[in-house]
């Protein structure tokens, strides 16, 4: 059996049970249900404040039709941010490294925005395919380009998240292995590499949060165009 660095991304199955199901359910288990009390403890107060603030920010550029998506987008954001951050712990499996999961989020949601746009305001939705102020000669070319761009969106959404997280985890594993291997041979270099690992970890924490936010933000932008 050849151990490779990509083994960490293999979807774990134990005794025939796909453990990815537990991994996906984990963020839900970690957050307490907001109670119906007026004054709560610190955890629920902070959680409530964060969710309210985030939903407020997200819904600012959207009109009333877009507000129907508040629950979906906020819960998606919380799920993504939690899975990404939990994946930074050692020996964990990050579901969002699986392209299947990310495309499973991106394609239906993107398709929903497109169908909503085509159904409610087809002229405006098709009008998005032509940016303002293009010279007349370029119109046919630009329509084709914009259509391709439109169909690239779900792929871009899914692959962006997958690639960022996979690359990050891979780098952490590589540099940690470098530290581990160098420690007996060249301790000073190992310490420098450990410093690099520390900074990379910081970067990965930031990337985890940013990628989740970007995913949801882009979806809200596509929604804004079409609703």
């Amino acid at each position: 059996m050849i151990v490779s660095f990509f083994d960490q991304f293999a979807s774990p199955v134990f005794l025939g049970i796909p453990l990815i199901a537990i991994a996906i359910a984990l963020p839900w288990m970690l957050y307490p249900t907001p109670s119906s009390r007026w004054v709560n403890n610190r955890l629920i107060t902070t959680q409530e404040w964060l969710i309210n603030r985030f939903t407020n920010q997200l819904m600012l550029p959207l009109n009333m039709g877009g507000h129907k998506w508040a629950l979906l987008l906020t819960s998606l954001m919380i799920f993504l941010i939690t899975t990404n951050m939990l994946g930074l712990l050692p020996y964990t499996f990050t579901p969002t490294t699986q392209l299947s999961l990310n495309l499973g989020f991106a394609v239906p949601l993107w398709l929903a925005t497109v169908i909503i746009g085509m159904r409610n305001q087809p002229t405006v939705a098709l009008g998005h395919l032509l940016p303002e102020g293009t010279p007349i000669m370029l119109i046919p070319v630009l329509i084709v380009i914009e259509t391709i761009s439109l169909f690239m969106r779900p792929l871009a959404l899914g692959v962006r998240l997958t690639a960022n997280l996979t690359a990050g985890h891979l780098l952490i594993q590589l540099i940690a292995t470098a530290v581990f291997v160098l420690l007996p041979m060249m301790p000073v270099v190992a310490i420098l590499t450990a410093a690099l690992l520390f900074m990379l970890t910081l970067l990965e924490v930031a990337v985890a949060m940013i990628q989740a936010y970007v995913f949801v933000l882009l979806l809200s932008l596509y929604l804004q165009e079409n609703v």
Binding site: T33, W38, N40, N41, L43, T45, T46, A176, F198, T201
Partner: protein
């Protein structure tokens, strides 16, 4: 949020259908707590006490009678060394990754923990303070109302005194008027009576004069010539 969706849909599913009611009743026998929700038990304000961020204080109190203060630490060290020496936990590259993320997490919690807690406390305190202020304002306005009412009642008492004073004033005016008129009447009557008195005086005087004149006239008439001769001879 997702949990609430699941719970609500589960509840609806449970109660739907003919067997739904029986299911709820059947499971009721397993319930430990009382069914009523009031009074709501208070939420603990802070989480359970922990030492070093993860280990609950109860572990230390549990081990203290038998192993003293250092008991749990010995247990932890022993466990760790056991797992390392028996290679139950193998040190590999993940260990360094774990150390790295561990440093980040501990630093983050230590640095931002108190401020986040204070922020959450402030949100709650502001909520309570707002409600308290509403209550205080209501109480203050009611107390002010009581004060105003008392003042009005005092004013009403003063009004009685005012009426008494006015009544006295009017009575005095009437009295003065009456006395003036009485005085005038007395004067008039006195004038009439004085007139009568003067008239009688005049009568008597006139009678007196008349009588004196008559007496003089009679005397003069009764003076005979021999009486005149006699008076002249005396001289």
């Amino acid at each position: 949020m997702l949990s609430r969706l699941v719970l609500v849909s589960g509840h609806i599913l449970k109660n739907s259908g003919s067997f739904g009611a029986c299911l709820v009743q059947a499971s009721r026998s397993f319930h430990q707590s009382s069914q009523s929700r009031a009074p709501v038990p208070p939420l603990p304000e802070k989480g359970g006490k922990v030492r070093h961020g993860i280990f609950p204080e109860e572990l230390f109190t549990l081990l203290y009678p038998k192993t003293g203060v250092t008991g749990p630490y010995m247990l932890g060290t022993g466990l760790l060394l056991y797992m390392l020496s028996k290679e139950i936990y193998v040190i590999n590259h993940e260990t360094f990754a774990a150390a790295s993320i561990g440093v980040v997490i501990i630093y983050g919690v230590k640095k931002f923990g108190p401020s986040v807690a204070a922020f959450a406390d402030k949100i709650n305190e502001d909520k309570v303070a707002e409600a308290q202020e509403v209550k205080d304002q209501a109480m203050a306005s009611l107390a002010q109302g009581i004060e105003d009412e008392k003042k009005e009642q005092w004013r009403v008492e003063g009004r009685c005194m005012l009426f008494d004073a006015k009544r006295n004033n009017v009575a005095m005016l009437l009295e003065t008027n009456y006395r003036e008129r009485l005085h005038m009447v007395t004067n008039e009557v006195k004038k009439r009576l004085d007139y009568q008195v003067e008239l009688q005086n005049l009568h008597r005087r006139m009678e007196q004069e008349h009588m004196v004149n008559w007496v003089e006239q009679s005397v003069i008439k009764s003076i005979t010539p021999q009486q005149v001769q006699g008076i002249w001879s005396l001289h």
